[in-house]
């Protein structure tokens, strides 16, 4: 269908919008990647607010061992939808739908995405899917309550009756299609619409990250779709994919789900790594250190991440432990390369700690902590001790929120001038950072200890004898302060809206092509392109005496320096 419908883009060369509509109508009908990118971004931030508010209820419930804030059933619905929204509707779409859509065509000097109407379709599928998921709360039986992983047979019709789980399945399928279409679009755009001179190895790391993420989506999401269809058939057509009677296998669900689920966590992480790889060089006034190594590391992470899914299943006793632990441990190497290239980029630089850079540092600290505990989890014996406890919850919040919130807000502060032509206030930005950073770690570091004391996940009540009450209270207080830090951010947005400070085209002395056009960019992005002779065309144009291609002309000098 889309094949036939997409033909217009060929006729008009990838982008065709004559007679630009304005206002509400523009947002509803636009196929401009910048409008769609912003829609994605703001929609996903609203989902962050919704899921974050659910987290506040969760934390309120866990303030005391026998909390009575919500019922047990409601609690199960809350963390299920909190996790599902955060992963499917916030962290992924924020980066891959929002930033990638807005920035990637600009970075490669393209007038729009390869398939603008498919792009609009992706957004509407995403919004429909997201709404569908929330609708579960309004059904008689409530929303899905089997965790974001929907383990069979807890997700079967007998164990989870009612339309809520079905809405959840449909929502995941819709957002899955949305993700696949965006991936097709971004990968094709990066292959096909690069400006003259912008070879593959001159693509900014951000663009590379998005391309690799797109590939991972194309590998992982279809498996999830297939699994969801099987689950739906089991629920409504009486098939036997995951039921023991009739020859099905419940563990097969876990294998299928995690074959998707593990790449998914890197689908969430890689785009944010890409943002960090853009921000660190700009604020250090240096090119990114070890560009080829970074590209290689990104590809290696993607490749490895398709072979580690069973590290979520060590305690099932059904998987080949040495194989999966070896590959899981190995991921530390390319991820380490990334961390060290960021530090290497800063090394010898001239670093200014504007808000985006502060968030980047917060990201690195949080992520490395979470990564180290990830390495512990990758060791099956250790996982036996802490699987399905708050130790795991703490691990994945440090890596996930470290990326999606810290790196995500670094990106937001960095590109906001490009998005809107306005600056955000530095003072409020720094206040938000310090509040978020301290409060966030106050939320999750105690959870490691609670997990080690034996507190399992997904429980609305816990035992006084476990001595985790105080830890949980620390965690809850941290969570509430995190919420306040976002209020500071909202104030910042409001101030920038009411008392705008014009950003100019290139407020940060940025390196890549998006800074070579106006803020916000004109309708087809560029009126003219600077010559592209390196990864940093805008830097080359602004600092001709330090341009990248000069280094290549002076190999001797470079050799002496080394």
């Amino acid at each position: 269908m889309t094949i036939a419908a997409e033909s217009k883009t060929i006729e008009h060369g990838g982008a065709s919008h004559n007679g630009e509509p304005t206002g509400m109508y523009k947002w509803l009908t636009s196929t401009d990647h910048k409008v769609i990118g912003k829609s994605y971004m703001y929609t996903s931030l609203v989902f962050l607010l919704i899921a974050g508010s659910m987290a506040m209820i969760i934390r309120a419930q866990l303030m005391s061992p026998n909390g009575h804030v919500v019922s047990q059933q409601m609690y199960n619905e809350l963390f299920t939808i909190h996790g599902s929204i955060m992963l499917y509707l916030f962290a992924g779409p924020f980066a891959f739908g929002g930033f990638a859509n807005f920035i990637l065509p600009l970075q490669i000097g393209a007038p729009d995405m390869a398939f603008p109407r498919l792009n609009a379709l992706s957004y509407w599928l995403y919004l429909t899917g997201g709404t569908t998921m929330l609708l579960g709360f309004f059904t008689a039986g409530g929303a899905a309550a089997f965790g974001w992983v929907a383990y069979a047979p807890l997700s079967s019709y007998t164990n989870a009756p009612g339309p809520g789980p079905d809405l959840w399945i449909i929502a995941i399928a819709l957002t899955g299609f949305s993700g696949i279409f965006t991936a097709v679009n971004l990968v094709t755009t990066a292959f096909y619409l690069r400006a003259p001179g912008l070879t593959m190895f001159r693509m900014p790391i951000f663009t590379w990250s998005m391309v690799v993420t797109g590939m991972l989506i194309l590998i992982a999401f279809p498996i999830l779709t297939a699994a969801m269809i099987m689950l739906y058939c089991d629920r409504h057509l009486g098939t036997h994919f995951f039921t023991v009677s009739g020859g099905g296998s419940p563990v097969m669900w876990q294998n299928l789900f995690w074959f998707f689920g593990h790449p998914e966590v890197y689908i969430l992480a890689l785009p944010y790594f890409g943002m960090v790889s853009e921000i660190v060089p700009v604020f250090s006034r240096k090119p990114v250190f070890g560009y080829k190594g970074l590209v290689f590391a990104t590809l290696a992470i993607a490749a490895l991440s398709t072979g580690v899914w069973a590290h979520h299943m060590y305690t099932t006793g059904t998987v080949l432990l040495p194989f999966f632990s070896a590959l899981s441990l190995l991921i530390a190497v390319p991820t380490g390369i990334k961390v060290f290239t960021w530090i290497g980029t800063m090394w010898g630089g001239n670093i200014s700690f504007k808000t985006p850079m502060l968030f980047v540092i917060g990201f690195i600290v949080t992520f490395v902590m979470g990564g180290m505990t990830g390495v512990m989890l990758a060791s099956p014996p250790i996982d036996f001790a802490v699987h399905d406890t708050y130790f795991v919850v703490a691990h994945f919040h440090q890596v996930l929120a470290g990326t999606a919130i810290f790196a995500g807000f670094a990106g937001f502060y960095y590109w906001y001038p490009k998005l809107t032509g306005r600056m955000l206030r530095e003072s409020l930005g720094k206040l938000q950072f310090w509040m978020a950073f301290i409060a966030f770690n106050l939320t999750f570091i105690p959870q490691y200890l609670a997990g080690l004391r034996g507190m399992p996940r997904r429980v609305p009540v816990y035992l006084v004898q476990d001595h985790v009450t105080f830890l949980n209270q620390l965690s809850s207080v941290g969570a509430f302060v995190t919420f306040l830090s976002f209020v500071v951010w909202l104030v910042n947005l409001w101030v920038s809206w009411k008392k705008p400070i014009a950003a100019g085209d290139n407020p940060w002395d940025g390196h890549t092509l998006e800074w070579g056009t106006s803020s916000p960019p004109p309708h087809h992005n560029f009126t003219s392109l600077p010559p592209i002779r390196s990864q940093r065309p805008v830097w080359d144009a602004n600092h001709p005496e330090h341009a990248d291609h000069l280094n290549h002309e002076l190999p001797k000098k470079e050799a002496i320096r080394r």
Binding site: Q72, F146, G147, Y151, P153, L154, N159, P250, V251, S284, R285, K286, P287, G290, Y291, G293, T315, T316, G317, T318, P322, S325, L330, A332, V333, G336, V339, F340, I343, G344, M346, W347, G348, G349, N350, I351, S352, F353, V368, M372, V375, M376, P381, I382, F384, A385, D388, L452, R453, P456, R457, R458, V459, V461, Y462, D466, H546, D548, N551, R561
Partner: protein, 251 residues
Amino acid sequence: MRTVRAGVRSFSELKLTRKLGVVLIGALALSSCNPTFGAYRGATTQGKDIFSLYQGFWYTAIGVAIVTFGALLFVVIKFRRKNDAIPVQRHSNVPIEVIYTVIPAVIVAVLFFFTVKVENRVTAVSAAPNLRVKITAFQWGWRFTYPNGASVVSQGANYPQMVLPVGETTTVTLVSQDVVHGFYIPEFNFSRYALPGFTNYFDLNPTKVGTFIGRCSALCGLYHSEMLFSVRVVTPTQFQTWLSQQKAATA
């Protein structure tokens, strides 16, 4: 320019000598006071093995953290913007890149080596155990069945109790009657899924007499949080007495 060059040189030097030294000394200092890092020391031989592996991972993590966060702190302080100068536009430095690829790879290989060693010991199932217990998980309780037919299930508000002899090998046969449950004893540092349609086997060698909390770790529906049990580890003679009493009670 000068400071940059000095910086690069000191990075490789530090990397190779001083920091590694710090890591080693730190690890030694830590191992002498034997910290728990928040975990239980383990009340079974398996749990003890896991605990020492966990400690080893922590020493490594501390070492990595010192290097990584140390380097981060160093650049953040040393290279903060003081003037408007444009620094040397260095794109890469292959030796350093090789170092920070190879060293983590070696660390990871070592971690893997010890992982496999411990893993083999922990997952080993004895051919001739002193006792076999069959554990059946269901929504939302446990049934412990002993070879002589004695069995324990939850009764009313009482959580079921599994009794094990200290110093002897018990092989557990773990199944589930409905959905996935997690058989989890925090102080044993051990958990294993109870799966419908698949039987799991593992050994427990309790080393400490006492009563421990056990619980279901895998989300299994509404009353998942209340699917508790306890484990009472007693001497072998006490165990035999208990077993015959229990048999009488079951019959």
